[in-house]
């Protein structure tokens, strides 16, 4: 109990004094996760739409696999990316292990199936609505995908935010591929793991509050931004 109270106090102290180490860690958390979400969205959103409008032989199986990949264990992804990027691995020459780029790669692998799967579900409903019109207008595949993505953008924002939520709170994979290097690859979650390891529960808890606050703030921000763009909710 005491640790939780102390954690709250620590969290407020860290936030209101704008602790430079905290800002650095928060900044890297955001940089890595936002980049990963953008890349994963560039892949996952069109992929979700593509799976909706195309009929091919193993479509059902592909979607089932995609849904299963949503539960990909981050530690396994981390290990896989680690072996790929290690100097003795196939992409070792790029020297990417223990860099933020490696963390971004791992997160992209973790959240792309999630974003693709949620966007697939969303776009499936919209496609049912638009199907006749878009066929009647003699649209190309790409035109269909862009129309569905654009008109479904509010719902797709939810998919992106789900990806953001998973990525910002992820620790297993980025600990392995990032190495939790101070001032280089240390993010909020790995800091929390480190402080917990040192038995500094109050401080770890404080960082935890910062992480939760950050995630909630980003969600609120995105939702209010998307609403001011146009007053209506579709």
């Amino acid at each position: 109990m005491n640790d939780i109270a102390q954690g709250t106090i620590d969290a407020f102290r860290l936030i209101f004094t704008l602790d430079p180490d905290l800002l650095e860690v928060v900044g890297l958390s955001l940089r890595v996760t936002v980049t990963a979400v953008l890349i994963a969205s560039l892949i996952g959103l069109p992929l979700g739409a593509w799976l909706v409008i195309n009929r091919f032989r193993f479509r059902r199986q592909t979607i089932a696999v995609l849904n299963a990949l949503m539960g990909l264990p981050p530690v396994v992804v981390g290990l896989f990316v680690y072996m790929m990027l290690s100097r003795s691995g196939p992409f070792g020459v790029f020297g990417l292990l223990f860099t933020p780029t490696a963390m971004i790669i791992a997160q992209v692998i973790i959240i792309t199936p999630l974003i693709a799967s949620i966007s697939h579900q969303t776009i499936r409903d919209l496609w049912a609505e638009y199907h006749d019109l878009l066929i009647s207008l003699n649209t190309s595949r790409w035109q269909r995908i862009t129309a569905l993505l654009w008109d479904g953008r509010r719902a797709l924002l939810t998919a992106m935010l789900a990806g953001f939520g998973r990525a910002i709170g992820e620790v297993g994979a980025i600990m392995i591929v990032g190495g939790n290097i101070d001032h280089s690859t240390r993010v909020l979650t790995t800091s929390i793991a480190l402080e917990t390891g040192k038995g500094n529960f109050a401080f770890a808890m404080g960082l935890g509050f910062v992480l939760i606050t950050l995630a909630v703030t980003i969600n609120l921000l995105m939702h209010s931004l998307s609403r001011t763009e146009r007053a209506s909710v579709w």
């Binding site: 292990l97 290097i181 390891g197 763009e229």
Partner: protein, 269 residues
């Protein structure tokens, strides 16, 4: 949303991750990191020779793996046998002793196995085994874990035959201490991690001082003949600094709660 925006953001974010300064990667053990000594040494290294030392904090087993794969430029570990095997296989250029600290046995204040009365580390462990008192092992192939195993061996006991009182945490020092604290179990730790540990609960230091528990740290540069990309020159600079007078002063002077943790013992070549 404009499509140009995410692309531009993406690009600048990717670029930002590529900017790098003079830095090397050093794989160290959790016990070194947890001691807090690195927080004293690294800023001074940056100040004296302008080098950013990036610590990859892992168990000794993984540290050696990282050196083998060439993913770090040097390693600082404490497991002599493993280090020698590493050198023999040609993964490192040489082994340079820097400093030592010591391992201690920790247990619940009631001391159910009465190890505080033991005269050697080996008898202490034998008492724990005889009492079947809960004991938490690192179980992660780290230097501390290897040390613990060698002590059981010296005691004529085999952890593989132990009952449920012997728990392998499979985790770093801090996490293992957390487990021990939660279970009121005995545990072997390095003194530095213990002193810096914040969640002691009912645990107390029960046994220390047997010379067999001394824990020698050594610095091993990764062999550039195997991995041409390692920053050999920078590693040499770091080695000079770590074996020099500033390092000696800082290491010997580092105290937690008034207790000295490390003894500098590097020798001039």
């Amino acid at each position: 949303m404009n499509w140009k925006f995410p692309f531009a953001t993406l690009f600048s974010l990717l670029l930002a991750t590529m900017v790098q300064a003079a830095e090397i990667r050093l794989a160290v053990t959790t016990s070194f990191q947890n001691s807090g000594l690195s927080d004293v040494l690294l800023p001074q290294i940056k100040k004296d020779i302008g080098l950013d030392v990036q610590l990859i904090v892992v168990g000794t087993g993984q540290a050696l793996k990282l050196g083998e794969a060439g993913d770090v430029d040097a390693i600082l570990v404490h497991s002599r046998k493993a280090e020698e095997a590493f050198l023999k296989a040609g993964f490192g250029t040489h082994r340079r002793e820097i400093m030592y600290n010591d391992f201690i046995l920790i247990g619940p204040s009631s001391d159910p196995a009465q190890i505080s009365e033991a005269d050697t580390a080996v008898t202490a462990l034998q008492k724990i085994a005889a009492a079947k008192a809960p004991f938490v092992s690192r179980g992660d192939d780290s230097g501390t874990h290897k040390k613990e195993l060698s002590l059981w061996q010296a005691a004529g006991l085999d952890p593989a035959t132990f009952g449920s009182w012997y728990r392998a945490a499979g985790a770093g020092m801090g996490a293992t201490l957390n487990v021990a604290s939660g279970m009121d179990a005995y545990v072997m730790a390095d003194r530095a991690s213990w002193l810096n540990f914040g969640n002691k609960g009912d645990l107390k230091l029960m046994f220390a001082g047997d010379p067999v528990l001394f824990n020698q740290y050594a610095f091993i540069p990764v062999n550039p003949q195997r991995h041409p990309h390692v920053k050999t020159a920078l590693v040499a600079q770091l080695e000079d600094w770590l074996t020099g007078e500033t390092a000696a002063r800082l290491i010997n002077g580092y105290k937690i709660n008034g207790e000295t943790l490390f003894t500098f013992n590097a020798t001039k070549p």
